[in-house]
C-alpha cells in the first residue's frame, strides 16, 4: 500500500502561492481558512528559504492522538482525515499539531471555534467518494479519481511533491545528489520520524 506524503523542496520553492490558491480553487475553501500556506524563513537574508506547509499526514498523528472524541481516521493510503460530524471544535488538535494545520471557522459563540478544517490530501472525508455532501464538507476527492492533491500537481517549480512517500523521497534524493545541495525535507523528521539521507 502506498503511504502518501508531502515533501516541499525548499530549494525550489519560490513562495508563488500556487499551492495556496490551487487548494482554494479545488476545495472552495472559504476566506480565512488556510489549509495550506507558504512560510518564508530568514526573509530578506541570503539564506532565505520558503516552505509550503499544510497537514503532513503524520505517522502516529498527534491530532488523532489528542482528539477527545476520536474523530480522526487514517485511510489505507495513510492520509489522516477526520469527520466533521464528530468534531466538536475543541482546538486540541491545533495545540498538538507541529505544523499548525488545523483551521477553525469562527462561529457565533465568542468567536470561538467551529468544526475543524484541514488539508485532506485531496481525499475528501468519510462521505461517499465524490458526493456532493463530501465536497461541501471536505472539498474534492482527487485521490479517488486517481489524481494527486492539486497543490502539488500545480506547483510552479515542482517544489511541492505529493504522493507515495518512497517515490517522492527518491525523487528528492536524486535531486539533491544531482545538484549537490538541499536544505532538508522540511517537517519529515517531525511528521514521519525519518530523514532523507543525501
Amino acid at each position: 500500500m502506498a503511504r502518501m506524503k508531502f515533501l516541499c523542496d525548499a530549494d525550489r520553492c519560490i513562495e508563488c502561492n500556487a499551492c495556496v490558491t490551487a487548494c482554494k480553487n479545488e476545495n472552495e475553501v472559504p476566506w480565512g481558512i488556510n489549509r495550506r500556506r507558504v512560510v518564508t524563513i530568514n526573509d530578506g537574508k541570503p539564506g532565505e528559504r520558503s516552505i509550503s506547509m499544510a497537514c503532513m499526514h503524520c505517522t502516529d498523528a498527534p491530532c488523532a492522538a489528542v482528539c477527545p472524541v476520536s474523530c480522526f481516521y487514517t485511510t489505507a493510503d495513510a492520509v489522516v482525515l477526520h469527520s466533521k460530524d464528530l468534531c466538536i471544535g475543541c482546538g486540541y488538535c491545533f495545540y498538538a499539531c507541529p505544523f499548525g494545520a488545523p483551521q477553525y471557522p469562527k462561529v457565533g459563540n465568542f468567536g470561538s471555534r467551529g468544526k475543524m478544517d484541514k488539508c485532506t490530501f485531496c481525499a475528501g472525508g468519510p462521505e461517499a467518494d465524490g458526493s456532493q455532501a463530501e465536497f461541501v464538507k471536505y472539498g474534492a476527492n482527487r485521490l479517488a479519481e486517481g489524481k494527486l492533491p492539486l497543490c502539488a500537481e500545480m506547483c510552479s517549480t515542482k517544489s511541492l511533491l505529493a504522493g507515495d512517500g518512497d517515490i517522492i523521497a527518491q525523487i528528492y534524493k536524486e535531486r539533491v545528489v544531482k545538484r549537490g545541495y538541499g536544505s532538508g525535507a522540511w517537517g519529515w523528521k517531525t511528521a514521519y520520524k525519518e530523514t532523507i539521507a543525501s
Binding site: 502506498a2 519560490i14 508563488c16 502561492n17 479545488e26 468519510p126 494527486l148 506547483c155 545538484r179
Partner: protein
C-alpha cells in the same frame, strides 16, 4: 464512524481495478511521475502512458448527476509565460481546473494567479452591465444606449477638436486578434494616438533590441534557458513576476550546475535561489554592465571571432567601457570590483550564457540605453544566436508581445511596418481598402506618418496648454480598453487629467482605477468586457510562441468580448463595412479565426504569416508531442514544428515553416528556424568627416560594412553577408525563375511600374520568402548586429543619473539628456534634474523609491484584487524598508507609515521592515489603488464592483522622467521620505 472507512476501502479497491494502469489505489512510480510533471529524460520518452485527465462527472465540485463535463483549453491571462489552463465545464459553468500536463511551457504548473483564474470568471466583483455616470451616480444603461451615446460624443469631439483628440488606449490582455482589430480601428478612426501597456513595460526593450539586431523580442525561450550554463537575471524578479519560468530556470540551474546570478537592488525571491547576488543602486545598470565588460575586455574574455563576423561598432563601445574602472563602478553603483570580475568571467567563459531582464532594466529614463548595454554585453561575449544563450526578455502581460507585434503602438502599423506611406499602402492592400480612403480618415495625410502621444503622457496632452501639444487640440476623450489607471507614474496629475476629459470610456471586466480616481460627475461609461476565458483567440507568449485559446464559458452577466464591442462601435461610427470586409461577423461578433487569417495575409515582415488558426489548433491539441527543451515536435501531426510556431514563421501556412525557437541562430537551416542578424541598417554606413589636409579642409568618407563577414546560417547558398531581398535581388541571382506564376503575378500587381522594388515584407504572395528559404538564405538579409546603434540619442549607452537621484554629486558628470520636444510634447527632464540638485531634493528625500511586482497580483491589480483567493494573500499595500532606515525613523514591522514624495504627494501604507532592500532604498508593489493619499475611495466604485482589497498606489509618488526613444516612464528610481503614521 469507521464503518464508512471500510466502505471507502471497498470502493477504492474497485476503483483501482478499473484503473488498470495503477496499482491498488496508489499510483505507481511512472504514473506518479507523469502526474506530478516530474517525468524527465528517459521516463518522458518511454511515457506513452494513458493519462487519466478526464474528471468523472460526479467529481467535486460535483457536476449535477448525469451532466456532461467538457474539457476546454485556454491560456492563462496573467503573464507572458503562457501557461495552458484546462477548464472543466458542466452546464455552462466552469466547475474546475486541472493541470495541463502536456503543455511544454508549464507542464501542469501554475502560480497563485494561474491556479485561481476560475474565480476571475465567476467572481462576483465583475462589472455586470454597462454603466454611466450621471451627476456622480453610477446608473445602469443598456448596451444600445451606451454605444449610441459614446458614438455620438466621439463624433462631436471629432468635429470640434479633430480625430487626434481621441486617445485609443488598448491592452496587452487583448488576444492577437483583439489587438490587431483595435489598431485597425484607430487607423480607420484616423489617428496614431493608440497605445497599450508595452509603453510602460518593455517599449524600451523593443526599441533597444530591434535597433541592435533586428527584432524586438526575446531571442530564445523560457525552455531554452535549460541549456544555459550561466544566467544573469538583471532587473527582474521572475519568481514573482513569471513564477512558472522559474521551473525552467531552477531545473536548468540544477541539471547544468549553472551559475545563477541575480543583479538587483533587492534580494528578491529570485535572488534567494541565486549562486551569486549582486546588489546595485537603482538606476545604475549601465555602469554595472560597463564595469562587467571592463573586466571582459581587460582579460581578453570577449568572443573576438563572433565580434569580427557579426558585430558592428564594438570598438566604439569599448571606448566608453574603458572609462568604467572598478573604482568608478563601485563609487557609482556600490558593487565591489572583485564581485563583478567573478560575474564577468562566468558570463564570458562559462557558456552558453544568457541575460534575462525585465522591467527593472526597462522602466527608466535610460531604459533603451540599458537594454542596448545588455545587448552589447551579449554581443561582446558571443552569447546570442544559438542554444542556451540570448536576450531572454521576460515580457509582462499575457499578450504584451502579441499586442506589440500587432501594432498597438503610437509609432507603427501592425507588425512593425512603421508609419511611412509604404506601410499604409501595404495594409490598405491587405485590408482591401483604397489608400485614399485611409488618407481621408486622417486630419491630413501627413498625420498618418506622425507618431502619436505615448500612454505615459496622455494627461500631459490633456492638461498642457493647447499650444504646447503638437496637434489640433488637446486630448478630449480616452477610450480605455483593458488598461489600468494606476500603472502610469504621476498619478495626482493623472487624476486631474481624468477630470479634464470630456469623455471617458472604460471597457474592462472591472471598473478599474479610471472609474474611481477622479471627481468626475458625468461623461463616463463603463462597458463590461469578458475575460479571455470567455473569448477565443490567439495570444503570443514572451518566447514568441502563439497559442490558441478556446472559449471556456460564454461571457457572464451582460459582458461582451472585445471583438463585439469594437464591431458595435465601428458600426455606430460607420466604419464596419470597410473594416470587416474580409472578416465574418456572426451575431455582431467578428470571428477570431478570420481576423487571424487577415493577420497572416499581411504579417510577412515579422513572420506572422505562417500561423494559421488551423495550425495553432493542431498544436494545442497535440501539446504532448513537443519536447520540453527544444520545443520541437518529434512526432504527431505537428512533427517538426516548434511549439506555438514562434514567430518568425515564414511564408504562407502551406509551406509549413516550423517557426523560430532561437532568433539569429546560424547553426540551423532557415527552414528549421535558423537565421542571421537582420540586415536592417543598410549595406554600408558612410561616415563623412571634414579634416584639414595641408591647410585645406577636405571631406573624407569612411565606409563601414554593415553586412556579416563569413558568417551565415547552416546550408546557406550565399556564404557571406547579404542585404535584404527584393524581387530585383531575386532577379539578379536568377532565383526569380523559382517563383510560381501566381506569386509573380502578385508581385507585379503590388509593384506596378516598379516590381523590382517589391520587398520580402510586402510581397503578399510570400513567394520571395519561399524562394529564399529554398536557397537556404533568409530574405531579411544577413547583417551585423550593432554595438554602435547610430541614430539613437545615445548610440553607445552612457550613464545618466536618474532625474530624482540621491547622488547629486554625480549629476554634473552624468547628467540626463537635454530638454527637448518629442512625441508631440515637451520633455523637460533636464530642467527638473537641475532644479532638484539646486533645491537639494536628494537631501530632503533621502530614500530611493523603487517598485515592482507581487506574485499574487498583476498590473494595476483591479482584476486580481477582486479575486478572493488572491486578495486574501495580500491585504495591504506596503513599503519595504531596510531595518536601519526603519529604526532611524522609529518604524517597526507592520506599522502604518506615510511615504512622502518630492512633489508633495503622500501615501499611507504598512511598513515591511526587511533586509530585502538595502539601506537607503525602499520598495513598493505597484498593484494597489483605491486609496489615494490616505483617502479610501471605495465609495466611488459602482456598488458591488469594488475590488476586495484597496490600497495606495506607488504611482501616487512616482515622478517625472521619460526615455527619449519611447517615452517610457521612470517608476524604478525616484525619491521619498518615510515617517511613522
Amino acid at each position: 464512524m469507521l464503518i464508512k472507512r471500510t466502505e471507502r476501502q471497498a470502493r477504492r479497491a474497485s476503483l483501482a481495478g478499473a484503473l488498470s494502469s495503477q496499482s491498488g489505489g496508489a499510483l505507481d512510480r511512472r504514473t506518479f511521475l507523469r502526474r506530478s510533471g516530474l517525468a524527465a529524460g528517459a521516463l518522458a520518452t518511454v511515457g506513452a502512458l494513458p493519462l487519466v485527465t478526464m474528471r468523472k462527472a460526479e467529481a467535486g465540485p460535483p457536476a449535477a448527476a448525469g451532466a456532461q463535463v467538457t474539457i476546454r483549453k485556454n491560456i492563462c491571462t496573467h503573464c507572458s509565460v503562457g501557461c495552458t489552463v484546462i477548464g472543466e465545464v458542466s452546464n455552462g459553468v466552469w466547475i474546475g481546473q486541472e493541470p495541463a500536463w502536456d503543455s511544454p511551457i508549464n507542464r501542469g504548473s501554475h502560480c497563485a494567479k494561474g491556479a485561481s483564474v476560475r474565480e476571475l470568471v465567476h467572481g462576483d466583483r465583475r462589472l455586470r452591465y454597462p454603466m454611466k455616470l450621471v451627476n456622480g451616480q453610477w446608473t445602469r444603461v443598456s448596451w444600445d444606449v451606451a454605444i449610441n451615446e459614446i458614438g455620438d460624443k466621439l463624433g462631436e469631439i471629432r468635429a470640434k477638436s479633430g480625430q487626434e483628440s481621441v486617445y485609443w488606449l488598448g491592452s496587452a490582455k487583448f488576444s492577437n486578434e483583439g489587438a490587431y482589430l483595435y489598431r485597425k480601428f484607430a487607423a480607420f478612426w484616423g489617428t496614431n494616438n493608440v497605445d497599450h501597456q508595452a509603453r510602460i513595460c518593455h517599449s524600451t526593450t523593443v526599441a533597444g533590441v530591434a535597433n541592435t539586431w533586428g527584432y524586438g523580442a526575446q531571442t530564445n525561450s523560457y525552455n531554452d534557458i535549460r541549456n544555459s550554463k550561466t544566467m544573469i537575471i538583471m532587473g527582474g524578479n521572475p519568481a514573482e513576476a513569471h513564477p512558472v519560468s522559474l521551473q525552467h530556470l531552477l531545473e536548468g540551474k540544477e541539471m547544468q550546475k549553472a551559475n545563477f546570478i541575480v543583479i538587483d537592488p533587492r534580494l528578491t525571491r529570485t535572488a534567494a535561489h541565486a549562486t551569486e547576488y549582486v546588489r546595485i543602486r537603482p538606476g545604475t545598470d549601465i555602469p554595472v554592465m560597463w564595469g562587467l565588460l571592463w573586466h571582459v575586455f581587460k582579460n581578453g574574455w570577449e568572443d573576438k571571432e563572433f565580434i569580427r563576423q557579426r558585430v558592428y561598432g564594438m570598438e566604439d563601445a569599448k571606448k566608453e567601457i574603458e572609462k568604467w574602472t572598478p573604482e568608478e563602478v563601485e563609487r557609482v553603483t556600490g558593487v565591489p570590483g572583485a564581485q563583478l570580475e567573478r560575474v564577468a568571467k562566468m558570463f564570458a567563459t562559462e557558456k552558453p550564457a544568457t541575460l534575462i531582464w525585465c522591467m527593472g532594466a526597462t522602466q527608466h529614463t535610460v531604459g533603451t540605453a540599458n537594454v542596448r548595454a545588455f545587448c552589447i554585453a551579449l554581443l561582446a561575449t558571443g552569447n546570442v544566436g544559438g542554444v542556451g544563450v540570448g536576450a531572454n526578455i521576460f515580457r509582462g502581460h499575457c499578450n504584451v508581445q502579441g499586442a506589440t507585434d500587432l501594432g498597438l503602438d503610437i509609432g507603427t502599423l501592425p507588425l512593425y511596418y512603421g508609419l511611412a506611406e509604404g506601410a499604409w499602402r501595404h495594409w490598405s492592400r491587405v485590408w482591401e481598402v483604397d489608400y485614399s480612403y485611409l488618407e481621408g480618415r486622417f486630419e491630413t495625410p501627413k498625420n498618418m506618418g506622425i507618431p502619436g502621444i505615448p500612454s505615459t503622457r496622455w494627461f500631459d496632452a490633456t492638461l498642457l496648454p493647447k499650444d504646447q501639444v503638437s496637434q489640433k487640440d488637446t486630448i478630449k476623450a480616452m477610450m480605455v480598453f483593458g488598461h489600468g489607471g494606476n500603472t502610469v507614474t504621476r498619478m495626482p496629475e493623472a487624476a486631474k487629467g481624468i477630470e479634464a476629459l470630456e469623455l471617458l470610456v472604460v471597457a474592462d471586466p472591472h471598473p478599474t482605477t479610471w472609474a474611481a480616481l477622479s471627481e468626475r460627475k458625468n461623461g463616463t461609461y463603463l462597458l463590461p468586457i469578458c475575460t479571455q476565458f470567455e473569448c477565443s483567440g490567439s495570444r503570443t507568449a514572451s518566447n514568441r510562441s502563439i497559442q490558441w485559446g478556446e472559449q471556456i464559458v460564454k461571457p457572464v452577466f451582460e459582458s461582451k468580448n472585445d471583438y463585439e464591442v469594437m464591431y458595435l462601435l465601428a458600426r455606430k461610427l460607420g466604419l464596419a463595412e470597410q473594416m470587416f470586409k474580409n472578416i465574418k461577423v456572426e451575431n455582431n461578433v467578428p470571428v477570431a479565426e478570420d481576423i487571424l487569417r487577415e493577420i497572416n495575409r499581411g504579417g510577412f515582415s515579422t513572420g506572422y504569416c505562417g500561423q494559421s488558426p488551423e495550425r495553432l489548433k493542431v498544436h494545442m491539441a497535440n501539446q504532448k508531442d513537443f519536447d520540453l527543451v527544444s520545443l520541437r515536435a518529434a512526432d504527431g501531426p505537428a512533427k517538426g514544428d516548434y511549439y506555438g510556431l514562434p514567430w518568425p514563421c515564414w511564408g504562407t501556412p502551406e509551406i509549413k515553416h516550423p517557426g523560430t525557437h532561437q532568433l539569429y541562430n546560424t547553426h540551423l537551416h532557415v527552414k528549421d528556424g535558423g537565421g542571421t542578424f537582420r540586415a536592417r541598417f543598410g549595406v554600408e554606413r558612410v561616415i563623412k568627416t571634414k579634416v584639414m589636409e595641408n591647410g585645406v579642409e577636405v571631406e573624407k568618407e569612411e565606409k563601414h560594412n554593415m553586412l556579416a563577414e563569413g558568417s551565415y546560417s547552416l546550408g546557406s547558398e550565399i556564404r557571406d553577408g547579404y542585404p535584404e531581398f527584393t524581387y530585383a535581388v531575386l532577379q539578379k541571382l536568377g532565383w526569380d525563375k523559382d517563383l510560381t506564376a501566381p506569386e509573380l503575378a502578385t508581385i507585379q500587381k503590388i509593384g506596378g511600374n516598379n516590381p523590382g522594388a517589391v520587398s520580402w515584407a510586402i510581397d503578399l504572395s510570400g513567394g520571395i520568402q519561399r524562394v529564399c528559404l529554398e536557397h537556404g538564405v533568409i530574405h531579411y538579409g544577413n547583417g551585423k548586429a550593432r554595438a554602435n546603434a547610430f541614430g539613437l540619442p545615445d548610440a553607445i549607452p552612457v550613464h545618466r543619473e536618474p532625474i530624482y537621484t540621491p547622488r547629486m554629486d554625480l549629476v554634473a558628470k552624468y547628467p540626463t539628456l537635454p530638454s527637448r520636444r518629442e512625441f508631440r510634447l515637451p520633455n523637460i527632464g533636464f530642467d527638473i534634474q537641475k532644479a532638484n540638485v539646486e533645491n537639494k531634493v536628494g537631501e530632503k528625500f533621502p530614500i530611493i523609491l523603487t517598485s515592482g511586482r507581487l506574485v499574487e497580483y498583476e498590473g494595476g491589480g483591479e482584476e486580481t484584487r477582486s479575486n478572493k483567493w488572491l486578495a486574501e494573500l495580500q491585504q495591504d499595500s506596503f513599503i519595504e524598508i531596510n531595518p536601519a532606515d526603519a529604526s532611524a525613523r522609529g518604524i517597526t514591522d507592520g506599522n502604518w507609515v506615510w511615504v512622502d514624495g518630492p512633489l508633495g504627494a503622500k501615501a499611507r501604507v504598512k511598513a515591511l521592515v526587511t533586509e530585502r532592500v538595502g539601506r537607503g532604498v525602499a520598495w513598493m508593489p505597484f498593484h494597489f489603488s483605491g486609496w489615494f493619499q490616505g483617502v479610501d475611495q471605495r465609495d466611488k466604485y459602482p456598488k458591488g464592483a469594488d475590488p476586495i482589497v484597496l490600497g495606495e498606489s506607488v504611482n501616487t509618488l512616482t515622478t517625472y522622467g521619460y526615455d527619449p526613444v519611447t517615452g517610457m516612464q521612470e517608476p524604478k528610481a525616484t525619491l521619498c521620505q518615510i515617517r511613522a503614521a
